[in-house]
Every structure is written in C-alpha cells, then in structure tokens.
C-alpha cells in the first residue's frame, strides 16, 4: 500500500509537467489548428528564464583576495554580487536564494512575447498548410532554439536550486500512520504540483468566465461564424498562442529545481506530451490534463522494481503501450471531440 501511495505521489509531479505542456499544445491546436513541435522548446526557454534571472541576480564584480591563491598560484579573484552592495550580504543572498520563484514574474512577459513573435513571425504563414509542413517547420524551429540556448549557456546542465526553505522532503508516511521514511516527498515537488493545479485552474477559469475566453471558445468551435460577427478572432488566437507559451514557460521555470536545466530538456518532454495530447483527445483541454496525470502516474508505477522484475523494460514503453490501448478502444482519445483531426 505504501509503495502504491508513493508512486501516485511521484506520478503527480511528472504528470503536472506533462499536463501543463499538453495543455499549451492543445490550446494552440484547438485555436489555431497548428501542430506545434516547438512547444517543448518553449518549456526549455522558460527554464532558461530562471537561469537568466539567477545570473542577473548574481552579476558580480571581482575583488582580489591576497590571502588565497587560484589554481595557477595567482592571488584569488573573488566574485562579489552587486546585489550584496545594494542590499547587504544577508538580504542579497536571500533574494538570490529565491531566484526561481521570482523567475515566474520575470518569465511571464518574456514567454508571452516569445509566443507572439513566434506566431506572428513564422507560424501564421503555415495555417493553411498541411499538418506535415507545420510539424517540419516547428520541429526545425525547436532545433534552432535549442542550439541558440546551447551557444549561450553551454551543453552542461546548470544547477538552479529551490529556495532553502523548500529543501528536504515531507514524511507523508509518518502522517498517514506508516513507518517513518517509507513515503517521502520533496517539498518542492509539492509546490510544483500545487503550482500546476493553480495554472491549470487559471487557464480554465480564464476560458470559462471571461468574455475573451468565451470568444476564444466560440472561435474554437466555429471560427468562420465568429469572424462573420465582426470579431477579430485572429488577434485573440495570437494572444492565446502567447498564453500557451507562457504556460509552457512557467512549467519550465518551476521545473528547474527538480532537474537542472539543459538545452535539450524540451525535446525530452515533447514526444511524451504529444502522446498525452493524443491520448487525452486532440483539442480537448480537460483530456490533456487528465491524460497528463494518468500517464505520469502510470509511468511511475512502471518504474517499480517489482514490476520491472515481472516485465523487463516495461518502464520504457508503458506510455506508448497505454496510448496504443486507448487509441484502439477510443480512437478519439479519452475526451476527444468528433471532427477534430479527422478530415
């Protein structure tokens, strides 16, 4: 029982990342009809927003410490962050420590801008082109974006830790009456799960309860009629692209303490997120979220050594097996709508 609870918990944060990326993908597909293979790159750019803010906060000047020497035997150059000069060492370190949460605010305008530029500058020229063309161009864009990031930040992962206050893990087991240390879950992953629930809830509320959202939903259902009513649906869809980019970017920002960001982290999530979208049902927002959590939890279960002992290698293929099974029994996915991607 404890092992099952543990793997459900593990699946939640993994599922959170899948759900957030798949949500953005579905938003773009549902509004613009574009299959965006650059969406993983947006997740990666979000993560690098956190890296960038960390670097800005730790911008330093050097002072020479004559007491110590560097690796060549020269007097050691010690880097002192400017923020220490501005706020003092204690307060400065506190701000640096909170770089990742602060990056959420930093990333929102950047990601919206990246999304809008991407849509206006490239994607819009491919609306009427076949999906294969869209996949090729967005996949190419993803490669360009990750190579740009590699050029500026290198190929190695860059540690971007969570604030000190969120280090360590919560002993769920002790709280639930199990033995101590049996069910543990890191504090930051709890934060990540909570954050993703807020973002997902926020996107649904935005679409459900605002006029803007109502128009977008109407446009998703019947773009031509909304246009005939004199509403500039294209402009709204461009904004939705920006919002979808921001959702992916924020997922990336908050993911950085879980795994040190690197330039190809977007690709690691991209294929799985597409599977999530297909399993959830193309164009279905609740389907994307449901499938994200479902597949995240299943992936965690498949990683249990008791299961690997029975079916070796199941941990590497479980998501695809489940996807095949669901698509065989429900060709439109869990919550897919009739007519979407069926023409």
């Amino acid at each position: 029982m404890d092992a099952i609870i543990l793997q459900i918990l593990n699946g939640l944060d993994k599922g959170s990342a899948y759900a957030l990326i798949a949500l953005g993908l579905t938003l773009i597909f549902g509004t613009l009809g574009v299959v965006n293979f650059a969406h993983g790159a947006l997740f990666m750019i979000g993560a690098f927003c956190a890296v960038t803010l960390s670097r800005i906060l730790t911008l330093s000047h050097t002072i020479v410490d004559p007491e110590r020497t560097d690796f060549l035997g020269n007097p050691l150059k010690v880097e002192v962050p400017y923020i220490h000069d501005l706020l003092g060492a204690t307060a400065g370190d506190k701000v640096i420590d909170w770089a990742v949460p602060l990056s959420v605010l930093f990333a929102i305008p950047i990601m919206i801008a990246v999304g809008v530029i991407m849509e206006r500058g490239l994607i819009k020229y491919f609306y009427k082109r076949p999906h294969a063309d869209q996949i090729l161009v967005t996949f190419g864009l993803a490669i360009v974006l990750q190579e740009v990031i590699k050029y500026f930040y290198g190929a190695n992962p860059i540690p971007t830790p969570a604030p000190e206050a969120f280090k360590g893990s919560l002993d769920f087991g002790a709280a639930l009456g199990f033995d101590p240390n049996v069910i543990i879950y890191p504090y930051w992953r709890i934060v990540y799960f909570g954050f993703s629930v807020v973002i997902i809830g926020g996107v649904f509320a935005f679409l459900q309860f605002t006029t803007f959202g109502m128009v977008v939903r109407a446009g998703m259902a019947d773009r031509e009629t909304v246009g005939l009513l004199g509403i500039n649906i294209d402009r709204r869809f461009t904004i939705m692209f920006g919002i979808a980019a921001a959702v992916a970017g924020l997922a990336g920002v908050m993911y950085t303490p879980i795994n040190s960001p690197n330039y190809h982290m977007g690709m690691d999530f991209l294929v799985l997120s597409f599977v999530v979208v297909v399993v959830g049902g193309m164009g279905s927002l609740p389907g994307a979220v449901l499938a994200g959590f479902l597949l995240g939890i299943l992936e965690s279960f498949a990683s249990m050594r008791e299961i690997i002992a029975i079916i070796p290698g199941i941990n590497q293929v479980i998501i695809y097996l489940v996807a095949i099974l669901i698509l065989l029994t429900r060709p439109r996915g869990l919550m897919g709508r009739q007519g979407v991607m069926e023409d």
């Binding site: 404890d2 092992a3 190695n156 280090k167 543990i184 879980i258 690997i308």
Partner: protein
Amino acid sequence: MSKTTLTRRGLIKSGAIGSAGLALPTIFTAQSAHAFTNEPTGSTVTLGFNVPQTGPYADEGADELRAFELAVEHLNGGGDSGMLSTFSSKVLQGNGILGKKVSYVTGDTQTKSDAARASAKSMIEKDGAVMISGGSSSGVAVAVQALCQEAGVIFMAGLTHSNDTTGKDKRANGFRHFFNSYMSGAALAPVLANAYGTDRKAYHLTADYNWGYTTEEAVRSSTEAMGWETVAAVKTPLTQTDFSSYIAPVLQSGADTLVLNHYGGNMVNSLTNAVQFGLRDKQVNGKDFQIVVPLYSRLMAKGAGANVKGIYGSTNWHWSLSDAGSKAFVKSFGTKYGFPPSQAAHTCYVQTLLYADAVQRAGSFAPCAVAEALEDFEFDGLGNGKTLYRGTDHQCFKDVIVVKGAENPTSSFDLLEVVEVTPVDQITYEPDHPQFAGGALGTCNNGV
C-alpha cells in the same frame, strides 16, 4: 657467328622475365608507398580528433579538443612544452613527430556510435589521418576502435570507462589510457569501508547500457568483498530525466547507501533528485544515509552544483594533483584557456603525447610498429605516477584518484577534493579476470 633461334616458348619466357624485371621496382615502390594506411609522405602528419562537438557531452568534447590543440602545439615546439618537460621518455624534441609537423582534423562523434564511426571514417579516408583519438563514451570508443582496427590505424581512446573497451571488445590497434570500472570499484571500496564501515546495505541505480553494467558489477563485487550487502540493483533507461520513481523506493528497501552508476546528464539528474528527496538527511539502520557516485567528472559535478558535497567517487585524474606532470599540464592549459583542465582533457593530451612518443621510438608511423612500441611501455611524469601500458590488453595501469565533493569550494573549479591516491598495485588485475572475460586482442593491422 652465333645463331639466334627465336622460338615461341623462348619468347614467352623472355617476355615473362623481362616483364617481371620491369615490374619489380614498381612492386617495391608500390609497397613502400602504401606500406600502411595513410603513411605520411610529405612534411606533415595528420592526426584525427574525434570528439563530441554537439549533443549533451559537447562541453566535455570542447575540453578534449582544447587539450588536443595544446598537445599539437607542444609537439610542434610551441608554448611552454607542458608535460613534454616532465615525461620520462625524452625522444620528443618539439619538432613534430619524426621531423614531420603535426596537423590535425576534427570530427563530431555526437556521442552516437554510428556518427562517431562515420566521422572517424571520413578523417581516415578523406583527410588521411594516421591516428584517431578522443571520445566521451564507451559505446563510441568500442565502435571507433573496431573501425580503426579494420582500417589499419591506431586508436588512442579518450574518455571511456567501461571494462569492455579493454575487455571483451579490445583490439590490437586500440589503446586506453583512461581507467576503467574495475579500477573504480577497487579504489573506492576500501575508502568507503573506511568512511562508512563494512556493514552497509547498498541499493544500485544503474544506467541501462554497457558502461552501467560493468560499473555496477565492479562496484558490487568490490564492496561486497568488503562486507557490504547489495539489497537491490535497478536499471534505469538512458533517456530518463526524472529519477524520482526510482529513488523514492530506496528507503523502503532498507538500504542505507545509494550507488548511482550514472554518468553525464543521468548522474546530474539522479543525484539532484536523490538529494531533493532528502536521502542524505535520513537515518537508516542506525546510520546516516550515504550516496556514492563511482565515476566523477568535474564538468558533471558542476551540473549537480552543491548536491555533490561530501559524496565519494573516483576519477582518472584531477587538476589539483601536485606531481610535476600535473602541475606542468595545469599551468599550460590554465594559462592558455583560463581554467583548469578536466580529466577528459588530461587523458586526451596524454594519449597524443604517448602516440607521438611511440612513433618516435619506433621510427615509423606504421600501426604495428607503434603498437609494439606502446605495448608494455613504462613511463612516468604524465600525471598519475609510474604507469604501464600493458601489452596483453592495451590498458594503462596507474594510480587512481578517489575524490569527494568539496564542502566549501572556493571557485567553480574547486568542486572535488582528492581524498586518496590509490596506488596502482591495489587496482591491478590479471588479464583473464572474469570482469574482462571474452574477446581477443587479435593481431595488429597496418591496413592497405
């Protein structure tokens, strides 16, 4: 007056002898022009440096390339001569190799076996490379080593740690300076027993490929020989990025030590996840929970950040070593590039010097002559103390460095501290050791 009788048989005989006579010099010339693959005939000799220039190991590849450039500079008489001044063999004079100026071409392995073979093949066939070196993975090393064997050029392996490179996949044309999984296990186990005791329960997470298997086997057998018990060993996919579902059950298993048989991005992520789960703050079986990383690299340690603090591992070489060779290399490299070299850079630099030295001593670039010069060659002054290039398997035997994540690093280079330099005797094994079983060195190939 003599009488000449021309018969048909006589004409054929004379023609055959005459033809053979005319052809003889051509045969000799042809043989000497192509005595071995890519025999250098001009005033330069070309070496091929095959490193990951793209992909996740690109930073390590860039460091290897810097070291190769430095080695070429020193061989051609430039710079401060680096380790040439400390190398026990004194045949290299800074005038190239056998009087030929050293030039080089580079290839991109992408850390993929097929891409690495393609780039090595191109350097051999199109650029005339007489030796191939570099690489950052055992899969690549084994693939390129086999290619070099077929092509008839020498392969001086870069960073490759799997036992198989000089075990079941060894080749007569391939040579490895870098240490291997067995040596890591043999060096680490006594240090771990000393630090954490002999009554430990270990849980292994192992990257699901060749290097992971040999490392797990080596560390398991060494630690079990010290009294540790292995409670579980779980293989993790090479493409895994989030290891939470593998790490969370560790405490349930009753293990008090986690061994991460991971390298590169796998190691950065699994270690980060393990620390995140607070494993190091836990007490199991009345002991503090510990994590071990059998193969460390400074570049990787940088990716894991503060998570490496206090965690033991092993390394082929470290820039903080105080022997004359290491100091000379760090000075050369640090002055040229502004930061200390990695272990990957060190092994690539040393392999280039060792190749050049062997050619010089052999008096020939012919792979079989070079191989003979390298086999059972004993040397010193290249950073790991007295070293033997064993002839039976082409593996270098030298001291191994046990390191620990620095508690209070003073710079971004100062992430690991040397705990012990394990003497070569402690990590030497017989050529027929079970961990190296299978395969045969075969005979060297001059190509052509």
